[in-house]
Amino acid sequence: MTDSRMPLLTRIPLVKGHSARARAGFAAAAVALFGLAPLALSDFRLGLLAKYLCTAMVAVGICLAWGRGGLLTLGQGVFFGLGGYAMAMHLKIADAGPGNLPDFMQLYGTATELPWWWQPFANPLFALAATVLLPMLVAALLGSFIFRRRVKGAYFAILSQALTAAFAIWLIGQQATTGGTNGLTDIQGFFGYDLNDPVNQRMVYFVIAAALLLLMALARQLIHSRYGELLVAVRDSEERVRFLGYDPANVKLVAYVVAAGMAGLAGALFVPAVGIISPAMIGIVPSIEFVIGAAVGGRASLVGAVLGAIGVAWAKTALSEEFPAAWTYFQGLLFIVALAFLPGGLASLVGMVRRRRAARASEEPSPALPVGEAA
């Protein structure tokens, strides 16, 4: 009913990749992230880059869920937050030391011992697993309700947006146990490493960079697998897939859950990189900002989405410093231009140029790829 047959503009052919070549590409990215960036950037800028890479990790999931699966999730903040809070809860407990309450609980709370739902997070393994599994579990629960009842398209988008608003409101309301609007701040250590030490900050950056590459590899495998093809099929015609004997709800659920896990990991790594997690990272606005990066770079293209996310995050830092008002206009324009006039994002520009060049080189019409908008 809504948009199961959205005539998409992301007409990027599903290329049959060659894993050896892909490995070369990843190697180049690895050199950039592990070699060039640490050399070229000051500690401060490297810390910023770490933060951008976290948003890029969310974008990888969005690329999968939205670009490939057509699920416009305006609620990634929920999963980012779950991962972030799971990590921060553990680090706060560890900072406080055995037997002590985290600082904010002593200030705002009345409890004399950790609330029951905090206690498991004292265990580092549990907390680490929870950063990814908790968001996935929540996504699986939500998704299986939502998709099975065929809530889709704009309905799904609005619902996911409302959920992220509700989650943020709830977190803020529980000040004694969640830190309220302040969030969990002043995180000192990261599994025994002092986060104040620039060397350790660098290490955190490397962990984040490695995690991003890992997620990209994972997403790439999924996109090029049979499942990835099926996901695109579900995006373009859910009913049709149903008549082929698949349950599209399950297909969507996998993408949604994986994207949630990726956002959770991003949130978890955001905590040591920035030293804070708060509801400000969770509400409607941050959730939609996660989407814009992917949209600008190219929602259906993995590399495009990642670069878009990094680029938009960088532009926000750079532009909002000098021209806060102009940044809002710019951000609005980005949404409009990227989605209305360049729906495939910048990645589609690259594709267009390449096709044109190929066509000129061979003096033949380019391979029959439909360009532009249908209908």
Binding site: T10, Q221, R226, E229, L369
Partner: protein, 262 residues
Amino acid sequence: MSELSGLRIRQLRVSFDGFKAVDGVDLDVQPGDLRFLIGPNGAGKTTLVDAVTGLVKAEGSVLFGDEELLGRSVHKIARSGIGRTFQTATVFEELTVLQNLDIAAGAGRGMLTMLRRRKDVPESVARALETVGLAELADSPAGTLAHGQKQWLEIGMLLVQDVRLLLLDEPVAGMSHDERQATGELLERISEERTVVVIEHDMDFMRSFARSVSVLHAGKVLSEGTVAEVQADRRVQEVYLGHAAAGDVLDTAAAPAAVQEA
């Protein structure tokens, strides 16, 4: 190839907010039949197919072989061996012909197979490519196919899906004469191994290929039999064939709609 099964529909009723789109239909399709469903617009043909495939809720009974279909979800009905096409060809335009067929072949695949890449062309897919004559175009995105080729691809998808009953909704609408002929022959070949039901407005096409015909009118079966029997039925002539021009009008009306939606 699995055993042939027939379709046995009893007292099927579908209503939308009080409007009875299908009003007590009894219909038997023998295994291996090539049955045409005809009738004026609004007769309930498509709704009947919707009901059989689980898209709309219905009362009554639909037996396929000896399995009751009513009450099952769409994808479970599909898995029990029933496939359908739509008036507008719905193939996955951004995927290649090969990928389209591969997806159709894969509903039973396990998790691990799904998460891996397609290494080669499954045999059933290769065969279907030949059968529907799209082997040359295997790597083209389905969106670039001509209208008729999309319909063939859809039929090919039903073949690899290994359905035992094909329900085709106006498969030749918008096709050229030659394409219709080719499609008809394709359906004849398919019906040797499977049961085929075709909704069609094109009377010439029906006359050339139908083994049996059911005429629907106002949600009920008006007449049933061979082409000749049905044509001879006075009631049918009255509501439908009687208006000599009606068939032509319907044909021309169907064409632009199909083109527009392609």
